[in-house]
Amino acid sequence: MSGSAEEVKKHIDVYMKVAGALAVGTVVTVLASFVEVGVALGIVIALIIALTKGSLVVAFFMHLLEERSRAIRWTLALTVVFWFVLMLVPLFTMMDHTGTPKTLPNANASESHAEEAH
């Protein structure tokens, strides 16, 4: 944020608009969770709203929109890359287990108890 009083006052107007948008986004997130759209679509909708709200916070409250430093931009770019790698771990794990039936923990407990009784 630059130092002139005019600029700062303009920023304050923007902050109030962003605050309003975040409040609306929170209400929409809660309302959307009550709409019966299925789990997968529900997750997509909730994450889109969260991403929108998060982007507003980062862009305006954290002033990333006007950040010109290459050091910060590179740091964040690398962070995003490694974050995606982290998120790919569950995907690779899922792929590794494709076709393997899921079982509840202790799903065979009754059978093993029966065997022990014999």
Binding site: H11, S33, A46, F61, S69, W83
Partner: protein, 196 residues
Amino acid sequence: MEIPYTVTARPDTGLNNVKLGIWLFLASEVMLFGGLFSSYVLLRVGAVEWPAGADFVNIPIGTFNTAVLIGSSVTMVLAYASLKLGDLAKFKTYMASTVLLAVLFLLVKSYEYYEKISHDHLPSHGTFLAIYWTMTALHGLHIIGGVAVNGYLWGPGSSMFHTKRDQFIGRVEAAGLYWHFVDLVWIFLFPVLYLL
């Protein structure tokens, strides 16, 4: 000994050390919480059944706490803007509001934890509860850290405004970046743990 480049930019990075330091710290925080979000996805897709968040958590209370935290982010950025305008009194008002809203968030969260403990919804009683407690407690620790730093900047730390104003503004900016990050984490935690 004077710590170099707290206000002026380093020639090699083009930034002062405070700003570069806080962004590097936040990058490490993204990976910390990213690891937990990744674990959440792994546990959820691997589970035979997953409880709806509403079975264990109170959505109206969570929504209220979201509004409280967003409100504290707004007062934090207004505190910073007040300093840029040279108005220490307004800064103190907004910073006090930020700290009070953070304390309110912690009180509400403590009530939620109390409810869970009294219903025997402990981390050891299910995968959802384990990841819920881990993520919200880690986030809560970050809130406590923010309260300590913001409380210091509001109280004894604010005397620097009269002696080293630019350095003080830099400190508040860094604390603000941290605080908005804590808000950002909650913006994702809320739908993930309460609504999905």
